[in-house]
Symmetry: C2
Subunit: 460 residues, 2 copies
């Protein structure tokens, strides 16, 4: 059977299986083939809306039989082309799989279907006194977050999806359903399939259910903003805070460019200096103690005008401004496209990495506001450019390649939290060396027909 | 070439490569083929003492060529037959690879060769104000600890080897040397090979270097012992402490049988009741606050006679008694062999699991002292028996199988920290279902000749 015949046969079978939860419509395919960043639109052949793991298994089994790609799709908030159907195929939209199927307050864990978003989960469990901390900027689905090993501002204290996924249910390339481990807090029973699937971007299996760690909502929370005379002073504050083992919940760096943009967008008047946004969680006494220690450290590095926010509404306003970062930049550069970088380096190299990067940016004559989850050594530039201008694209590509190379030379990574997708494939060999071949061997063994989100992370 | 010829050819080449760091001597092979628990002795064909990752690579390359097994060996403290040469082959003894090759106090991490022991590391870094927390009972090597995903009493606060290995250098089946990731605190760049190798028990690659997270030695530490009227009260105290998010550093359960044995062995006089051993780390104020909260919780569950130890020597004495647990049991049952169980269940099922297990043990008419890392839901029975008595062996096997089945039915695991090795292979299918086939597929892809510690974790 040739490829067109295979596809036609598959589409017929899927339509029979799923009825109106299967669509060939141009507009629906369009919606699933377009990213919010700089990637070109790329449509799947059809979109399926499964309702259960069993149904996902049936779909994958058929795709396996006909050798047609399967692409999982959550909230569409990926930033590196993860869900673009570069090889055609069937997009699995998880919006119908949005139930929280189990909640255990004693074990402080829950199980959700892959289409549940992080806001939905936190809304659902609020009355239990528990919360789920991992917070990428967007209201992503937990399936997508697991698949890309997402993190965000809370990771410095609570870890990333790597630390907070207990186990997964997943459909493998031939349709087999597996559960990656038990719910025990630790285990030494064989290979860590949970961690292998977390961050595999849909290329090793389709994640359908996620069991997550939850945390008690802290007795006390307090936030603070502190401007610094220099960016280096802000970064060194972070290094000292982490080294002293202060369990800070969030510590985010925002550079002068970003502060100006945030001020304008959110009608605020933060001093126009490199600034740390911070949050402290714990008992009342411990929050007080942490905050005092950090204020002292900040002062010794040129931090001044510490501004506290202990009331919920003030904290919310403060973090809203930070979380609106991307929106603010978009508003500041109307009509532009945006390229978002994502390197992460060891803390000891962070000040140097940011400094060299800023020099490079300045030399290139572009404006690129910087924000960073600096407690983890991770920072982002949001670079406005014009994706239809080949010269502009080439220029930004070069800047990004220099940035990634710099980070890798400092024993860091090309991506702290956004994933590889399409955009960072070219850096995989530089970052991983011969380990990249090991990844490819695993991919080929688990998905010999290369139907699971093909062309992502690396080419075979 | 037949198998005997292959082995002879390999031994000749290895002798030429390694000189006096290669041994065929009966006593050296004996030393590397005997475990401290109930497994039968099982000798390798030869023992190599490599001095570098490069040399490990050369050895593995030759073993690959001649299709002869390679078995990594650390301190010989494994409990499930991990290093027994059931298929013959070459044991790699890492005692010559015992350098701490890098220490970065700013990043709070270090890199060690696989033969460095945990005591050696902590001794080495003591003056920096940092420590490495993972503490299985024995003074294991960090290579062995990574390979078995070890943990111990501190895991409730600091995590296991899963959380504390940043990256690894490993030699793969064909001799290729890989580094599993950068030193960045987080990364979303491809498959998590670090976590795949941690816990793989030498079956996917030979770990030669480990990069580890370190922690600041807390400003204050305080320990406590608290006896309870009932075992259930002790367990429920643990559940409440964890649920309230109190960052307790250690919380260990010891049952009445064990308390009696410890008292006798270490000349102590703890009340003969189920007892929690605890430790608190943090600032002076936070340790005080944690301890007061825990004392209150304990009281509400029938805990009494809280006994504090804030002086270093008192703390050391307290934990020495706990860590001498296995030695104490050995002394209490001279001439006996010992079978150590290792299940781990979700906290919400822990009281029930311990209770049912105790009833089963009582019914079987045996004495089996219990200790548990109960903050993680993990507990051990140390069962004295006679390994030369087939009836006794069958009896203990049945008890263990009932225990493991009970734990797995409670969504737990057959091993919290000791690993699968030889002893728990028979439970892998029950625990993992179809996921076991995924593990086998990965093994076969990465080690097609099955030379890396064959016969461990599962049979192919």
């Amino acid at each position: 059977m040739n490829d067109t015949l295979k596809l036609t046969a598959l589409l017929t079978k899927l339509a029979a299986l799923l009825g109106d939860r299967f669509s060939l419509s141009e507009s629906i395919r369009q919606h699933h083939g377009e990213e919010m960043t700089h990637y070109d639109i790329c449509l799947p052949d059809a979109v399926a809306f499964p309702e259960s793991t069993h149904e996902v298994s049936q779909i994958v089994k058929l795709c396996h039989e006909y050798e047609i790609p399967v692409i999982p799709y959550g909230a569409g908030t990926a930033l590196e082309g993860h869900f673009l159907a570069t090889h055609g195929g069937i997009t699995l939209d998880f919006s119908n799989m949005n139930s929280i199927t189990r909640l255990n307050t004693q074990d402080m864990d829950c199980t959700v279907e892959a289409g549940v978003t992080r806001h939905q989960l936190n809304q659902h469990i609020r009355d239990t006194g528990l919360f789920f901390p991992v917070d990428p900027g967007a209201n992503a689905t937990l399936g997508g977050m697991a698949a890309t090993r997402a993190s965000g501002t809370n990771a410095v204290r609570y870890g990333t999806m790597r630390e907070n996924v207990i186990c997964l249910k997943a459909v493998m390339a031939d349709g087999t359903i597996i559960t990656t481990s038990s719910r025990a807090k630790k285990s030494a029973a064989g290979y860590d399939l949970t961690r292998l699937l977390v961050g595999s971007e849909g290329t090793l299996g389709v994640i359908t259910e996620i069991t997550l760690r939850l945390y008690g909502i802290p007795e006390a929370m307090s936030a603070a903003v502190c401007p610094f005379e220099s960016l280096e002073g802000a970064v060194n504050t972070v290094v000292d805070v982490i080294q002293m083992g202060i369990p800070i919940a969030r510590i985010e760096l925002v550079d002068v460019n970003f502060i100006r943009i945030i001020n304008r967008f959110s009608d605020l008047n933060y001093p126009q200096e490199p600034t740390l946004f911070m949050e402290f969680h714990g008992s009342t006494a411990s929050v007080q103690e942490q905050a005092e220690m950090v204020e002292e450290i900040a002062k010794s590095h040129g931090g001044h005008a510490f501004q506290w926010a202990t009331r919920t509404e003030d904290r919310t306003k403060l973090w809203q401004a930070r979380h609106d970062g991307f929106l603010s930049v978009r508003a500041a550069f109307p009509g532009k496209d945006f390229w978002i970088t994502d390197v992460c380096v060891p803390l000891s190299r962070l000040a140097e990495c940011i400094d060299e990067t800023r020099k490079d940016i300045d030399k290139a004559g572009i404006i690129a506001p910087l924000v960073g989850h600096v407690g983890d050594g991770n920072f982002h530039l949001t670079i406005p450019y014009d994706k239809d201008d080949p010269q502009d694209v080439a220029h930004i590509e070069q800047i990004n390649t220099r940035l990634v190379t710099r980070a890798i030379e400092m024993d860091g990574t090309c991506t702290g939290e956004h994933g590889i997708g399409l955009g960072k494939k070219k850096y995989m060999a530089l970052e991983h060396g011969p380990a990249l071949d090991i990844m490819k061997t695993i991919k080929t063994a688990l998905d010999p027909k290369n139907i699971l989100n093909p062309g992502k992370i690396f080419d075979l």
